[in-house]
């Protein structure tokens, strides 16, 4: 206890110093609202003519700086593998351990399914139109994963286990993450630089714009949805194990 209090006290001057350093450095930034970085302005000017993507942010993430997004997908992919590896040590609850489904009311099932269907639609829409309007593979993927999670939780834990099965999710995750790399390699094979946009820019403001951006976007959506489902599955597994343990204690 004394140790923590001492640490809390010592942290004050240290953080004061760091905060002062940060504030001193930040004060060298141009005033809020007066940013003149040419990189962003240039991209705002050329992304639409070059790629026909009305959402410049998507053009940046999937095309101009696509390699960052590839790394980002692998951060998620790797972290989920890591979480699985760490949590599996604690063992797994099997369907037999769960005496009954968490959800038993018929009404809540119907509501759950309808609500989740809407969520799923929103997710698909977000993912599909990511390079036209706000949204994209990541946001859509997370929403799709939550939609699926809600559907199956509403139908009961056993139904959830059927879909959160790693034999289903692992191939999807691998396809999403590997698909992005394969897209980059396809450009190399075509004799262009890695992740070069292979297709024509298409018609601006529609789903048929941006060329390879659409494919990269869907690869990300697939990867993110699968990775999130694995993540939810592992953590829900922990939750169910807690329930099992608690009922065992009583």
């Amino acid at each position: 206890m004394r140790r923590q209090r001492a640490r809390g006290l010592l942290a004050l001057p240290a953080l004061g110093g760091l905060g002062a350093l940060l504030a001193w450095g930040f004060s060298g930034l141009s005033p809020f609202g007066h940013f003149h970085g040419f990189y962003g302005q240039l991209l705002n000017a050329i992304a639409l003519p070059q790629r026909h993507t009305t959402n410049t942010v998507a053009a940046v993430t999937f095309d101009y700086r696509g390699i960052d997004t590839l790394g980002e997908e692998f951060i998620l992919f790797t972290a989920v593998i890591g979480v699985v590896l760490l949590l599996r040590k604690a063992g797994r609850a099997t369907p037999r351990d769960v005496a009954q489904d968490v959800v038993s009311s018929q009404a809540s099932r119907y509501f759950g399914v309808i609500g989740a269907g809407l969520v799923l639609l929103v997710g698909l829409w977000l993912a599909a139109f990511g390079y036209v309007t706000p949204g994209g593979g990541f946001q859509g993927g997370v929403v799709i994963a939550s939609g699926i999670a809600v559907v199956f939780l509403a139908c009961g834990y056993r139904a959830w286990l059927r879909v959160s099965n790693e034999e289903v999710l692992d191939p999807l995750e691998g396809t999403g993450a590997g698909g992005f790399v394969a897209l980059g390699l396809a450009a190399l094979i075509a004799g262009a630089p890695f992740l070069h946009n292979l297709f024509g820019p298409g018609k601006a403001g529609t789903l048929f714009s941006g060329g390879s951006i659409a494919i990269a976007n869907w690869a990300v959506a697939l990867e993110v949805a699968a990775a999130n489902l694995v993540l939810y599955a592992e953590f829900l597994e922990q939750y169910v194990m807690t329930l099992v343990r608690d009922t065992g204690d009583e």
Partner: protein, 603 residues
């Protein structure tokens, strides 16, 4: 041939995705083949890139977004010999770790291979990238792979503590880097290293640039195990599986130092005066060497001992970077190569020891290694390689560091390095003599007791692991006498520090003057470096002997020694508390102090 460059990253990442995707359908042999193929392809690519980069830098713009009008639109990989060499070392060590784990971690879950592959791709990307934010992405990818690799092995407190401290400290280091990146973007509107440098050079350095540089460097030093940001490394390495430690110690730490050099020369060199940066980096390196050497001597857990020896070497490498001249930089690069191989070899040996003797504690293992003469010889050979004996192991690197420090007029630096090297190598030899020969006392109150650790039972095909380990150690020992390496590394260092040529190559696609073809020879060592090697050897033997038989010293001497150096050593020990809150406090305080020093000296 620049198209090979992205393969160093793409091949292992694709292999990782395939491994996970095919986990439940493909036969085991297929998956093993995928893992080794992905890792091997990337390693071969790194070799080709290294050969190609010998004469001029290899440049690849992702997506084909070449700069227009001098403005970088996309992300570039730029392979100079050091970047390519670092990528090769990281890839090669990961390939080694995968091959070694093929039997050692046979019972481990399949994701283990995928994590190693992801880490390999990320390390190669980190070594090759020419873009600041792209570096941050690979930094985080290395991190997330490493946390899980460090923590997954056994269900015990030690590994978890190590992985937790690693994850938290490294993340905070990442935040510092990201704030630095944001500041530089706010000032220059650029993310490419050369471009940022170009924009900064238009004005003199002000507070924003100083703070951004401080945050970038401290974040990278946290990855590079420099005092006072090193604390979590000891916890994390001591518990990770041996082949993973080999990658951590042999490549991951050094990557942070490579990028400190990269960010200085590619971006900040034109705006900052050298001396304040030199002073801070050299002082940090010296403190790191001394602290880590003392801590190394106090360990009885073999892997923890190896980590502190790595940290001491990281300090030496930092002085090489921090002297800010090409000769020292070439020395640092050579130390990275030879030390990386030797330390990886030592960790692999420690894996064999754990496998055969079910323990990693020097005192408990006393004499039990007598039945394992080959393993013992490998351990001692690698330890001797770390001493600096002329023409062996780290000798070439330290000889160049010696030259660099001498021409910078810092003559006190090499004796300190020698002491640090001697203590660390002596400690390793002490452990070798105790374990494999049964020399020395069975009890030693000087050494830090560690909790009893349950070592996971596993069966493995030891001959293959032994052969792999032998190859790595032999390569490390031979690193000083590779024909032509010395001249090539010096030429590479001169190219590395040429800011203007780098910027012209990246931003305007100007052709560099190709480095002339160099002879394949091994230049004679200078008398000064021979003297350094001899001194380090004597010191090593003395330290090893002291460690084994210090109880035979007269009582009066021992009591006096305990009174004088006991309290500071205890203080040092208590700093390595294993508590993550303390570590964060050190990171914050260290950043504030370094920032304050540079705030007053750089503007």
């Amino acid at each position: 041939m620049a198209w090979i460059l992205p393969l160093a990253v793409a091949a292992p990442l694709l292999a990782a995705a395939l491994l996970v995707g095919s986990d439940h359908v493909a036969p085991e042999h297929f998956k093993d083949a995928i893992a080794l193929l992905g890792s091997g392809t990337a390693t071969v690519c790194c070799v080709l890139v290294l050969l190609q980069s010998e004469r001029r830098d290899v440049l690849h713009w992702f997506g084909g977004w070449r700069p227009t009008g001098g403005v970088a639109l996309g992300v570039s990989f730029v392979a100079d010999p050091f970047g390519a060499g670092m990528a090769l070392l990281a890839s090669g060590l990961t390939l080694t770790a995968l091959a070694y784990s093929w039997t050692y971690m046979r019972d481990a879950a399949r994701p283990y291979d995928a994590l190693l592959l992801a880490m390999q791709g990320a390390m190669a990307g980190f070594a090759l990238t020419g873009d600041l934010f792209n570096m941050f992405v690979w930094f985080e990818l290395i991190g997330v792979a490493a946390y899980a690799l460090a923590g997954h092995q056994v269900k015990e407190l030690g590994p978890l503590q190590g992985a937790v401290n690693f994850a938290i400290s490294n993340s905070v280091g990442g935040y510092l880097i990201l704030i630095g990146i944001a500041l530089l973007y706010g000032r220059t509107g650029a993310l490419n290293l050369a471009q940022i440098g170009h924009e900064l050079a238009a004005h003199s350095a002000d507070r924003l640039v100083v703070v951004a540089f401080t945050l970038l460097v401290t974040g990278l030093l946290a990855k590079a195990a420099i005092v006072p940001f090193h604390l979590w490394h000891a916890d994390a390495h001591a518990v990770a599986p041996a082949p993973v430690c080999a990658v951590f110690s042999g490549a991951m730490i050094e990557l942070g130092l490579l990028f400190v050099a990269r960010v200085y020369w590619a971006t900040f060199e034109p705006v900052f005066p050298g001396p304040p940066i030199r002073s801070v980096l050299v002082v940090l390196g010296v403190v790191t060497m001394l602290v880590a050497a003392v801590m190394c001597f106090l360990q009885r857990h073999l892997k923890r001992m190896l980590v502190f020896s790595t940290i001491a070497e990281a300090g030496a490498i930092l002085t090489g970077v921090g002297l800010l001249d090409p000769t020292s930089l070439a020395g640092a690069a050579n130390v990275v190569l030879s030390h990386g191989l030797l330390k990886a070899g030592l960790f692999l040996v420690s894996g064999l020891i754990v496998l055969r003797l079910k323990d990693a504690d020097e005192l408990r293992l006393r004499g039990r290694g007598r039945a394992l003469p080959v393993i013992g010889m490998l351990w001692c050979a690698a330890a001797v390689g770390l001493v600096g004996v002329p023409y062996l192991g780290v000798f070439l690197g330290h000889a160049l560091l010696d030259d660099g420090a001498g021409s910078a007029g810092i003559h006190w630096l090499q004796p300190i390095t020698m002491v640090s090297q001697g203590i660390c190598a002596g400690t390793l030899l002490r452990a070798g003599a105790r374990v494999f020969l049964g020399w020395g006392a069975a009890e030693d109150e000087l050494l830090t007791p560690e909790p009893e650790e349950r070592v996971p039972e596993r069966s493995a095909f030891a001959p293959a692991m032994l052969a792999i380990t032998g190859v790595v150690v032999a390569l490390g020992l031979a690193a000083s006498v590779v024909p032509g390496l010395e001249r090539r590394s010096e030429a590479a260092a001169r190219r590395f520090v040429d800011h203007a040529a780098y910027a012209a190559r990246v931003l305007r696609d100007a052709q560099q003057k190709p480095t002339p073809r160099l002879p394949y020879d091994v230049p004679r060592a200078s008398p000064a470096s021979i003297a350094y090697g001899a001194g380090a050897t004597v010191l090593t033997i003395a330290v090893a002997a002291f460690g084994l038989w210090h109880r035979r010293l007269p009582d009066g001497v021992r009591r006096a020694a305990r009174r004088s150096i006991g309290p500071p050593v205890d203080l040092l020990r208590s700093v390595h508390s294993g508590i993550v809150g303390d570590y964060l406090l050190w990171i914050v305080a260290g950043t504030a102090v370094i920032g304050a020093v540079w705030a007053f000296t750089l503007t």
